[in-house]
Amino acid sequence: MTKKINLSTVGNFISIIKNQEIWQINKLLEKLNINYDDLLYLLTILSDIYSKNGEYFFDFDLDSENNKILFYNSVDIFDIETITDLELFKLYTLFNTIDLHIDIDTLTKKDINTFIKILKSSFKIYDLENEHEIDNKNINLNEITSIEYIKLGNSTSDFYEVEPLLITSTLEGSVLEALDLNDKKIKTFLINRIISIGESVKEESKKNIKQTEIEVIFEAKDDSVLSKFKEVRKQNNKYVAKFRNKDIAIEFFIENFTSARVISPDIVKVDVIKRVESIRELLKI
């Protein structure tokens, strides 16, 4: 299996196949974004579910020779609503944070705009008006472009030639997964740190800096800071967290200065204190 099959994948599968009885296998795989083995796995799971009366919920005919699959739309399983408010709200949050212009071959701009409009009116009933500026990022998925990006912990930008592949939401915010055409690697870019898209690439600006992981011991003045970590461990009354490099750690503790205090190492602590003192100096009355 190339993809982790979870409850959400099964829900997505049910939601898609209930719209049509006969499918071309390759088209179905494309729509589900899975491979043939994943499909067989999903079919095995679902064909093993029985109703309370002991009847099959799900029945199908797989005709690999003719690239066809037929689903017998038994009422029970296709009546389950698999698109939850939470799933729609996650998309709504994403569209509310970034003004994404997703360019997808199989969808028109009008389709996407109508979709966003429906989501907005579904949640707008109680969503109070936002005054902050929405980031306007014109990301055309699957279309080669260049992006100007400031890495976490840095204050200067680098240019990348990329093929944008996927938008993901993480604890740090919305992320663009894209293929770096020069490094031939899939990289992740925090969308709010992308400065511009489609500008010319400045060859000289990109440097490869060796990343050295760093462990930081800190005190939490406010426990909510702990929710910002994927992994954090308690050590006596303090906490220990790992960061990709020292610059990222410094930026994190500068940003969260009011809720966390660095204990060690000095390499992080000194820079955080220096920054705080320079702001204190500016605020002198």
Binding site: L7, I83, D85, H132, R275, K284
Partner: protein, 275 residues
């Protein structure tokens, strides 16, 4: 995992067949994978399945209203899509098709913040004017939720607590429970002043900084721009904000060389820095 998925799907279909309050015994008797389990093993499996379904957005809640004869589990969490389905002005098939295509390009399954898992319950409570209770900073709160607002990538709840309008970070809300009774109030707040919008804390500040630094950090705090000038790569900004902590965070991250603001503003920022 395969068995867990099977159990969860069977649970969903069972609730789909019965739809109203279902007792624990009925669930155990009618789901093959639960039937032969001991009482404690059943409870463990059922609780685990409930958590998994909750992460997907389904709420399996035990309804035990003292005024009602029936009690048992109810399944909720799909009210929004059902409303969209009912709306004749919406081309539902097209909506679903767009949803599935976008889902292939937008992966929203990772890093779901705990805060929005309860969105379905809050949605119900706000729309139907119900009361909710939750634990917030170790204290039990019983409030009437009025609206939510997105700020710096986090959602906040505006709610009436003892006749006062207060704001709560959804990240810090735990053990959210929703009341059964609807239409408990007739209040309608068109505009809720959130804590970062309190006029007593207005600060007007002038600062010069690199354009890039402004762009990547501007959404950290709620502010409006009074004036903006750009020379080469340097932005000269005059900003108004009520968000003292947000502005402090912004200054710490962007480290401007020079700032200009009045004594009151400096005092507020220093207080936040020393907090």
């Amino acid at each position: 995992m395969k068995n867990v998925i099977k159990r969860c799907i069977t649970l969903l279909t069972l609730f789909n067949e019965e739809s109203s309050q279902i007792s624990t015994e009925y669930i155990k008797d009618n789901i093959k994978a639960y039937r032969n389990l001991s009482e404690s093993a059943f409870k463990r499996s059922f609780e685990r399945d409930k958590v998994l379904l909750r992460e997907m957005g389904y709420n399996l809640d035990y309804i035990n209203d003292k005024w009602s004869i029936n009690e048992g589990y109810n399944l909720s969490g799909t009210a929004v899509i059902n409303e969209i389905k009912k709306d004749e002005k919406i081309e539902f098939d097209k909506f679903i098709n767009t949803y599935h295509i976008i889902k292939n390009y937008v992966n929203s399954n990772t890093g779901t913040k705990n805060s929005i898992i309860d969105i379905s319950k809050l949605n119900d409570a706000i729309k139907n004017r119900k009361r909710v209770s939750f634990i917030y900073q170790n204290k039990l709160r019983k409030v009437y939720p009025m609206g939510i607002k997105l700020f710096n990538n986090s959602w906040y709840l505006g709610a009436e607590d003892n006749n006062k309008l207060k704001t709560f970070s959804l990240n810090k809300i735990n053990n959210l429970k929703i009341g059964n009774k609807s239409e408990l109030h007739d209040k309608d707040y068109k505009k809720i002043k959130f804590s970062w919008e309190n006029k007593d804390y207005q600060i007007i500040i002038k600062l010069n900084l690199k354009k890039e630094l402004y762009l990547i950090n501007k959404n950290i705090f709620n502010h409006s721009i009074i004036s903006k000038n750009q020379k080469n790569n340097i932005l000269k900004l005059e900003i108004s904000t009520y968000d003292v902590y947000g502005l402090l965070k912004f200054l710490l991250l962007t480290n401007p060389e020079k700032i200009t603001l009045n004594k009151k503003g400096k005092k507020l920022l220093l207080e936040a820095l020393n907090d």
